[in-house]
């Protein structure tokens, strides 16, 4: 039955209930205990009940076409685009193992057991043959992680578990769809020959791998295209969507896994595209991808709710109950067995708690429902299957979804009562945790490190040359400058009562030393409690890359890294500023991150000096005019990399126009030529790039956002230098100093190597 979409009712329903979901997010408390999918289904149920009571037909019916062509791609693209790539590739083996083998295990297990009980006469389902059972089993094997990820987000589950669940969902969708089409085809045949089975298996692999290949191909094509879009910024997002969708459609055309294709396309192209397109386009793409994905998903849940009420159900106690039982059983068994096999190959094996999370987190969702709903009518017991699927989905989503959070919290060892812990312990423990995270990153604690390194070399030498544009247009600078988030960050610097970079200033440092010891303060218990609260709320969390990506309906949040980076820049600027005033202070005091005896006069001095200059010129502070300072490289090396890091991103954003505009006011620069802004940038950037390509080796997902931020920051500083408009939040130092200041004249820069 394919009713036409009734636009009025359908549209109205969609929009107003989507707003309701948004409303739920505002009231955070609900979403803690009730996962979002529950809410969506509930609303669908309510609407369905209303419709049923007025005897109206449901507004729209999912047809196979509508689902597969319009609703599934956005969901999958959303998942694929925001997949944390580095984490994913570290765990790709496990993810694929669970997704492919796990789904197969589930389908076959459930299918066969259901077929076994079909023989029991009491249930009255003898007419379902093996193929149909397998088909049904394939449908309900597809896991949907929405609820699970919502929960994981707040409990800081370890990254490995997170990425396995996330990846498993994604690829199990693909596997399920493949199995679905395979079994549909088989179910319609009267007799199944062994060669058909064998062909089926072979086809499975062809389809899967072919999908991946297609996806990667389209990803590269998309990346390549964006290389040339510098003149037509506005259509960049369109290109991305077009290529992704094209990958999907072409894969469908050739009957290979379209989900795999679009996911691989998104994974491949994201890295290169984000470098090529303008900031605005990048933001647009992310927002639209998220939006479309959210809409699609909620629509499907909505239909689920409506259909539950309004269709004729065929209820069969035996079949449905056994389905539920087998679903749990086989999932639990599957996770156990699969983990046993894969644990020896993993660098960080799964413990029992992880396995429980995996097993219990196997919620079914949107895809299962849609697949069931679009079963061909030739299947005799289609209605039973639909009812059973809905029952399984509702059961898992509501019961498991709501109970998973308390269960996981129960299992996790609770921290000791915080009031008993001293402040010391809290602070020092956090320090130790940060240290360990840093050391782990330093050691590159992942396997396949060798391959990653190789791939990175290949990437830098060949791929990046082809796929990434050499120079970017200037309009991106303007866009960068106006970047709202950056201004927000600056506002943070401005408005917070304590300066974000406020370690005690040097003056007060000296003052404190001279002061007699301050009278001992006594702290009440209440003060202590406040302190504990303050610390626990405000101390930076350990690098948890997962947190940034977990919310399905929100964009990645990178406030913490941004704050840290901003503070480092401010620290360096400040240390330079103070250094110029009081050179008598021992160096250790100047550099808030460095130990004493720091010998900065090493062979890197020339490079550092260069960036020292950068920072100074970028600062709004007027320096005393002492050129001698530059002869001693005094820059803290810890900061040296930061500008390096930033400037290397600048190589892609030559600020020719900006500097041209500001040329008249800008400082004179070195390199022995009368510096115009543009020639400055030209001479700088190519050498920059040559030198600083290597640092991109390790640049990956988590740093991508940062680079954009750094870029934007750097740009803003440049603008300030050019003094085109009043800086939004910096202290109002006379900008003219920049001109007259001979400090801004740079010494000769000798490119390293």
């Amino acid at each position: 039955m394919e009713a036409k979409l009734a636009p009025a009712t359908g549209g109205r329903c969609c929009t107003c209930w989507r707003e309701l979901t948004a409303g739920f997010h505002v009231y955070h408390k609900i979403t803690i205990w009730v996962p979002e999918s529950c809410l969506l289904i509930s609303i669908g149920l309510i609407v369905g009940a209303i419709m049923h009571s007025v005897h109206e037909e449901p507004p729209a019916v999912l047809s196979s076409n509508v689902f597969f062509l319009y609703m599934l791609p956005p969901i999958v693209l959303d998942s694929g685009y925001f997949m944390p790539t580095r984490l994913f590739f570290e765990n790709v083996g496990t993810v694929l193992w669970f997704a492919v083998v796990g789904t197969l295990w589930n389908s076959i297990g459930i299918g066969v057991s259901l077929f076994a009980i079909c023989h029991i006469e009491a249930f009255g389902v003898q007419d379902i043959n093996l193929q149909e059972n397998l088909l049904f089993a394939a449908i309900i094997s597809a896991v949907d992680p929405v609820a699970v990820l919502n929960v994981f987000e707040d409990i800081s589950v370890n990254e490995q578990l997170y990425i396995v669940v996330f990846g498993e969902c994604l690829f199990s969708d693909a596997v399920t769809v493949v199995l679905y089409s395979m079994f549909t085809f088989v179910a319609e045949m009267e007799v199944v020959e062994p060669e058909d089975v064998f062909l089926g298996v072979a086809r499975f692999f062809v389809v899967g791998l072919g999908g991946m290949g297609f996806g990667v191909l389209f990803g590269f094509v998309a990346a390549f295209t964006t290389r040339f879009t510098s003149k037509v910024r506005e259509i960049e997002p369109l290109l991305i969507f077009m290529f992704s969708y094209l990958a999907y459609l072409v894969a469908e055309l050739f009957a290979i896994s379209s989900i795999m294709a679009i996911v691989c396309c998104a994974l491949t192209m994201k890295y290169y595209v984000e470098e090529n397109v303008s900031q605005r386009s990048s933001t647009t793409i992310r927002h639209v991808v998220k939006m479309l994905g959210s809409i699609s998903e909620t629509l499907i849940f909505f239909f689920l709710g409506v259909v539950t009420i309004t269709t004729e159900h065929e209820w069969n106690w035996g079949y449905i109950l056994f389905t539920l039982l087998f679903t749990f059983l086989w999932r639990g068994l599957g996770v156990l067995v699969l983990t046993l096999i894969i644990n020896p190959f993993r660098t960080i094996p799964f413990n029992m708690k992880d396995q429980f999370g995996l097993a219990y987190g196997g919620l079914r969702g949107a895809i299962s429902f849609a697949l069931a709903f679009t079963l061909p009518d030739s299947i005799g017991r289609k209605q039973l299957f639909i009812t059973a699927t809905i029952a399984v989905i509702l059961f898992t989503v509501f019961l498991q979804g709501i109970s998973i959070r308390p269960l996981i919290e129960l299992i996790n060892v609770r921290r000791t009562n915080r009031d008993v812990e001293t402040i010391n312990v809290e602070i020092h423990s956090r320090l130790m945790e940060h240290t360990m995270a840093g050391i782990e990153d330093l050691c590159g604690q992942w396997s396949h490190f060798y391959w990653k390194d190789k791939f990175m070399k290949f990437n830098n030498r060949i791929l990046r040359r082809i796929l990434i544009r050499d120079s970017r247009a200037e309009s991106s600078i303007v866009a960068l400058y106006k970047k709202l988030e950056l201004q927000n960050a600056m506002e943070i610097l401005d408005t917070v009562s304590g300066d974000i970079s406020a370690a005690p200033s040097l003056v007060s440092l000296q003052g404190e030393k001279k002061e007699s010891t301050t009278p001992k303060k006594t702290f009440m218990a209440e003060d202590l409690k406040n302190m504990h609260d303050l610390l626990s709320k405000n101390m930076y969390k350990i690098r948890q890359r997962t947190v940034a990506f977990t919310s399905k309906h929100a964009l990645p949040n990178d406030n913490q890294p941004r704050e840290i980076l901003i503070r480092r820049h401010a620290n360096i600027r400040r240390s330079l500023r103070h250094g110029s005033f009081q050179s008598t202070i021992p160096r250790s005091q100047k550099y808030f991150s460095l130990p004493t005896g720091q010998n900065l006069g090493s062979k890197y001095s020339s490079v550092r000096r260069r960036y020292a200059d950068d920072h100074e010129t970028m600062s709004e502070v007027a320096y005393p005019t002492r050129r001698s300072r530059f002869n001693q490289p005094k820059r803290s090396s810890s900061g040296a990399m930061m500008p390096l890091h930033m400037l290397e991103t600048l190589k892609e954003v030559p600020s020719t126009d900006v500097l041209n505009e500001s040329q008249s006011e800008s400082f004179s620069k070195d390199h022995g030529k009368p510096q115009t802004g543009s020639s400055y940038s030209d001479s700088r950037f190519p050498t920059h790039r040559r030198h600083f390509n290597p640092p991109f080796d390790n640049n990956n997902g988590s740093a991508d956002d940062l680079r954009n931020e750094d870029e934007a920051e750097e740009e803003q500083r440049r603008r300030h230098r050019g003094a085109l408009r009043p800086p939004p939040s910096w202290a109002a130092e006379p900008r003219d100093d920049a001109l007259r200041n001979p400090l801004l004249r740079r010494p000769q820069w000798n490119p390293k190597k």
Binding site: Q445, F449, D453, A502, P694, S702
Partner: protein
């Protein structure tokens, strides 16, 4: 990976490092390949820039200090031995080591040495005391923007008050050890090094 790295790292060196740090042969070779991949200049030593290229360290609040811990006083380069020596602090303490007769010199990954590493992250000027200012600096690095100077100051005061037993308003290393006696430092400051 394995073969290329081993030829550059001589067997005697591996043995030395093994004796000094307690790492196994495979762990040492693996870390050596990591060392070489970080060493862009390919001169057998790492500089600060090499470390700072690791993006995750850039967004670690204590990134700079961790990097500095690798460099001995006043030096800018660290060779592989020094690299391993610092990393040895984070080796887990194995049970069989606890039972053996204590070696002549304290192993690098003993509880005291682990605590010393943490202590040195605070104590920049190496005067064996954490002053209020040093504590404030680190606190500020670890904490976000929403805490005012006053609040942070009182937190620092309270911290010193809790730990300070000899009344000099600084935390000495002994006081540091004492205040963390209930914390499972061995577990907190160890990572599983891969083979």
């Amino acid at each position: 990976m394995g073969s290329r790295a081993s030829t550059l790292l001589r067997e005697e060196e591996i043995e030395e490092i093994k004796k000094e740090t307690g790492f196994s042969h495979s762990q040492i070779t693996r870390l050596y390949s990591r060392f070489t991949s970080l060493d862009k200049g390919e001169n057998g030593t790492l500089s600060r820039e090499d470390f700072q290229r690791i993006p995750e360290l850039a967004i670690n609040p204590l990134g700079d200090r961790i990097i500095n811990a690798f460099f001995p006083e006043g030096e800018d380069q660290v060779n592989f031995k020094g690299f391993m020596r610092t990393l040895a602090h984070f080796r887990p303490i194995e049970d069989n080591e606890k039972n053996k007769n204590p070696p002549a010199t304290e192993p690098l990954n003993s509880r005291t040495n682990k605590l010393l590493f943490a202590f040195r992250l605070y104590d920049l000027d190496r005067d064996d005391k954490i002053s209020r200012d040093e504590l404030l600096q680190v606190l500020r690095m670890m904490v976000g923007v929403n805490i005012s100077d006053d609040q942070l100051g009182s937190i620092a005061d309270r911290t010193i008050q809790e730990a300070d037993t000899n009344g000099d308003s600084c935390i000495s290393f002994q006081e540091f050890i004492k205040v963390l006696e209930k914390v499972d430092v061995e577990q907190k400051m160890s990572i599983r090094f891969l083979h």
